[in-house]
């Protein structure tokens, strides 16, 4: 287990890295820049990230990814129905993704940095969202466990697809989100969607 103080420094370094990238882009962000933004010495950074800049950038993507889903979970956890959790989740996630400047910069400048987290670990992300939705499906009346798992998987796929690329829908418009969730997502659960 990592001691809390050590975790705090780690987070401070990662947050400093994120700010440095937002200010100057990925390529311009040196370890010196990160040291300045995070208020840590280069020696401290190397103690936490022995692989230096490369390790730090990989860790940053994983860190932002985890933080994104933790915050998303917090933003929707007061929802009581399946409809509400999916509607609110889509709106919050879409806005948060657009506002996650560091992600947009990395995607534009060096998308290969996203590979370890978004591609190789994409299955756990799908599972994470499916697991989050499962209790709401139970409350929605889907009693059979296998059906619930299949529905959670389908909904998670659709939620992940829409939150990064809304296509023909405007996810800042509550009316459109309601139409999307009722027609395409929940109605897609057959008899359980009604």
């Amino acid at each position: 287990m990592i001691a809390p103080a050590r975790l705090e420094v780690r987070e401070r370094i990662l947050e400093g890295t994120s700010r440095a990238i937002c200010a100057g882009g990925v390529r311009q962000t040196s370890l010196t820049e990160i040291a300045r933004e995070s208020g840590c010495s280069r020696a401290t950074i190397y103690r936490h990230f022995p692989g230096g800049r490369d390790e730090l950038l990989d860790a940053l993507v994983a860190f932002e990814h985890r933080r994104f889903f933790v915050r998303l979970g917090q933003a929707v956890e007061s929802a009581t129905t399946l409809e509400e959790v999916v509607e609110r989740g889509l709106m919050v996630a879409h806005r948060a993704l657009l506002e996650l400047e560091v992600l947009q910069i990395v995607l534009r400048e060096q998308p290969e940095l996203l590979e370890p987290t978004l591609v190789r670990a994409s299955q756990p992300t799908l599972q994470l969202v499916a697991d989050f939705l499962t209790p709401y499906l139970a409350a929605h009346g889907v009693r059979d466990e296998a059906t619930r798992a299949a529905h959670a998987d389908y909904l998670a796929r659709m939620v992940l697809s829409y939150m990064s690329a809304p296509g023909r829908f405007d996810l800042t418009d509550a009316e459109q989100v309601r139409d999307l969730v009722r027609c395409e997502l929940l109605a897609g659960l057959g008899a359980h969607g009604q």
Binding site: E112, L114, S122, R157, M158, S164, R168, G188, G193
Partner: protein
């Protein structure tokens, strides 16, 4: 330009696209250079740049365009014999999944260079991908659906195919026609029924 000049240009294009696909299949996108394509196609760099004035970017864009044409043609053939909406949607999904899985260039990109694919499958680029796919799929579904619904369903089906490509499932194999049919039966048709109930007329 004379007719035979056009024919020469077209055959140069085809050779370059085929050679680029072989390079992509062998080594992914990041490591493929214009020189590699020149060697693989047996066409000089000078001729290559004459046919593709933007160089590497233009070649890659032409390859994407050619792949899209090939995929669309495959889907068109598959959907041709469908007699109902269920059959048409299952065939579209199945044909797309089989083609995408069998394409060696895409397989190498998925394995070696996923960022190159990812940039087309996330955010604004994915919105563009969805719009192109939806406009190509809608006419194929026109026998069974009105225009607006066909476009909406075209986009939706694209999301499903991309999702199962990115996150393969142990439960549903879209490369199997029965698997694609099960997905359509379980999730797409019930939602479509709800759409129709909600739609005017």
């Amino acid at each position: 330009m004379s007719g035979s000049g056009d024919a020469v240009a077209a055959s140069t294009r085809e050779r370059v696209i085929a050679a680029t696909l072989r390079c992509l299949a062998a080594q992914g996108l990041r490591r493929t250079t214009v020189d590699d394509v020149a060697v693989e196609s047996g066409i000089s760099r000078a001729t290559l740049y004459r046919a593709f004035p933007g160089g590497r970017d233009t070649i890659v864009a032409s390859v994407v365009e050619a792949e899209l044409e090939a995929l669309t043609a495959t889907i068109e053939r598959a959907v041709d014999g469908a007699s109902d909406l269920r059959g048409a949607l299952s065939s579209v999904i199945n044909a797309a999944a089989v083609w995408l899985t069998a394409d060696e260039a895409i397989a190498t990109l998925m394995f070696n260079d996923p960022a190159a694919l990812l940039t087309h499958l996330e955010f604004e680029q994915m919105d563009r991908t969805l719009a192109v796919a939806s406009s190509r799929l809608a006419p194929l579904l026109a026998r069974f659906l009105d225009q607006a619904t066909a476009e909406r369903v075209g986009e939706w089906v694209t999301r499903l195919v991309v999702s199962y490509l990115l996150f393969p499932s142990d439960e549903i194999d879209l490369c199997d026609l029965a698997g694609a049919g099960a997905l359509v039966e379980r999730h797409v048709l019930p939602a479509l029924a709800a759409l129709r109930v909600g739609a005017p007329g």
